[in-house]
């Protein structure tokens, strides 16, 4: 099988894609990683634009005016799921940074192309993730504190 090239990021975003996440989790491409024990399942149909509302993600202890050495906010991240559940997680540094690779044609699809060498690109290098390992807690409607 022919070798498949892995191209470095050809055009790092300048300026970086704007992101609602805390700067520590921001990357030039805007991509970030979230990991949960379990999966997000839903019996609801997706909306017209093909996406499904999950809930919301917040960093309750994060204060943009605090110095970067202040890392207490890492320990509390909330993922509200649906109307009734909340998961608590943390911001965690990856043991090894991860390169995010994507097929270069940009379609992101799994196209079967006989005889064509597949080309892959490093889209981002990620060093942090948000990790949820605890069971969701039931929340009253309207969310808790």
């Amino acid at each position: 099988m022919p070798s498949a090239p892995i191209y470095p990021t050809t055009s790092p975003q300048i300026p970086p894609v704007s992101s609602p996440l805390p700067p520590l989790l921001q990357t030039p491409s805007g991509l970030a990683l979230l990991e949960i024990q379990g999966t997000l399942n839903s019996t609801l149909a997706p909306s017209a634009n093909g996406s499904l509302e999950v809930g919301s993600l917040s960093f309750p202890l994060y204060d943009p005016d605090s110095p970067p050495e202040d890392t207490a906010w890492h320990k509390k991240v909330w993922l509200y799921v649906g109307k009734n559940q909340r998961m608590t997680g943390e911001v965690k540094k990856l043991a090894k940074p991860l390169a995010m690779l994507r097929r270069r044609d940009g379609s992101g699809g799994m196209v079967e192309e006989e005889g064509v060498g597949e080309e892959v690109e490093v889209v981002e290098i990620v060093r942090w993730k948000v990790l949820f390992t605890q069971r969701p807690e039931p929340m009253g409607a309207g969310g808790g504190t």
Partner: protein, 353 residues
């Protein structure tokens, strides 16, 4: 900015059909440094040619000069890729969208030792005389050859030179047989003696040219072999013997001649160690006869009969030493083997729900 207020950032999950497909690749410090350098190079996924019916062989990741084994690591956790998303509603508030769910992470570990030589031997036809090589037309060019070997270019180049691979006028590669290599080496020795060229001393490019034309007045391929042999045993080869003086490395030559002599003798008959060593000594330039030493052939020989008989140890066995290597049948890999695409090799074991 993340002035989120109490409500947090809305997060949605993109429909699976619209998901992008990412591979997550672990970066040890050396790879991280390479990829974050000022002009990061292109890396390569490579793997050995796989025979039909066999599971996909080990895949590797290569920089220009290093090879890393890749292993797919699954986790019981679910990983999602997030992307910022503009909101359609009037708030203009930024949102987050889950756009992908990679099923596994690729773990990288440095490959324990280079394995290019066995693959080169496996993939190329053998030239056993300087007549018409059989099967050369179907053979591979150097670039094609390297593309099929799960090792970095630098490691392939080293093995290519070590094995004195020949490239014909069409760019096709062949392995000279042990007997051909040995015969050509003897011709080099004879030509050097005739011209009083001391092979143990510094050699001008003119001397090398003279040796080549003396040996191969009839046949270009053998001339190419002379150059390939000399190149394979030089000290600090740096790209060309055309322009500067060179020296043959005594240990490299002793080992090269020993391996060649052993392979040639083993092909014919069971070989007594004493006979082998005696022939090996005779193969060396006068000044270097005393350097003959079995330890220099480490890895390429085995002994039997209480150390009395010596055998050539096939390159194929180097692959079998490697725990993760796929053993190949002897001879060339099947030419028409099924071509696997990379996304097939790393296909997720289950689909996301």
């Amino acid at each position: 900015m993340s002035t989120q207020g109490d409500a947090g950032t809305p997060i949605s999950l993109l429909a699976e059909e619209q998901h992008q497909h990412f591979r997550l690749l672990e970066l040890p410090p050396e790879l991280l440094e390479i990829l974050t350098s000022a002009n990061p190079p292109t890396l390569y996924f490579k793997s050995a040619e796989v025979a039909p019916g066999e599971s996909a062989g080990n895949a590797v990741l290569c920089t220009h000069d290093k090879t890393y084994n890749i292993r797919q690591k699954n986790s019981s956790n679910t990983v999602y890729v997030l992307q910022p998303h503009e909101s359609n509603d009037e708030s203009g508030k930024q949102r987050i969208q889950i756009i992908s769910q990679p099923q596994s992470t690729l773990e990288t570990t440095p490959a324990p030792k280079p394995c290019a030589a066995p693959y080169i031997r496996q993939l190329l036809p053998v030239l056993s005389s300087t007549g018409q090589p059989v099967g050369a037309r179907d053979s591979l060019t150097k670039a094609q050859l390297f593309a099929h070997i799960p090792a970095s270019d630098a490691e392939c180049e080293l093995a290519f030179r070590d094995l004195a691979v020949l490239v014909d006028e069409y760019g096709k590669c062949m392995i000279p047989s042990a007997q051909l290599r040995l015969d050509t080496w003897h011709s080099i020795l004879a030509a050097a003696r005739a011209r009083s060229i001391d092979l143990t001393a510094s050699l001008t490019s003119n001397s090398v040219d003279l040796l080549r034309t003396d040996v191969s007045d009839v046949n270009d391929l053998q001339g190419t072999l002379v150059s390939a042999i000399v190149r394979s045993v030089l000290i600090q080869y740096d790209g060309g013997i055309a322009t500067q003086d060179v020296r043959i490395d005594p240990s490299a030559l002793v080992r090269w001649v020993g391996i060649t002599r052993l392979e040639a003798m083993s092909a014919k008959t069971s070989t007594a160690v004493s006979m082998f060593k005696s022939a090996w000594k005779d193969d060396m330039p006068e000044l270097w006869r005393s350097k003959v030493d079995l330890t220099l052939l480490a890895g390429r020989y085995t002994l039997s009969d209480g150390g009395m008989t010596i055998h050539f140890r096939d390159y194929q066995l180097d692959l079998e030493d490697d725990v993760s290597a796929s053993t190949a049948p002897d001879g060339k890999a099947a030419a028409g083997s099924k071509r696997k695409q990379w996304h097939e090799k790393f296909r997720p074991s289950k689909r996301p729900t």
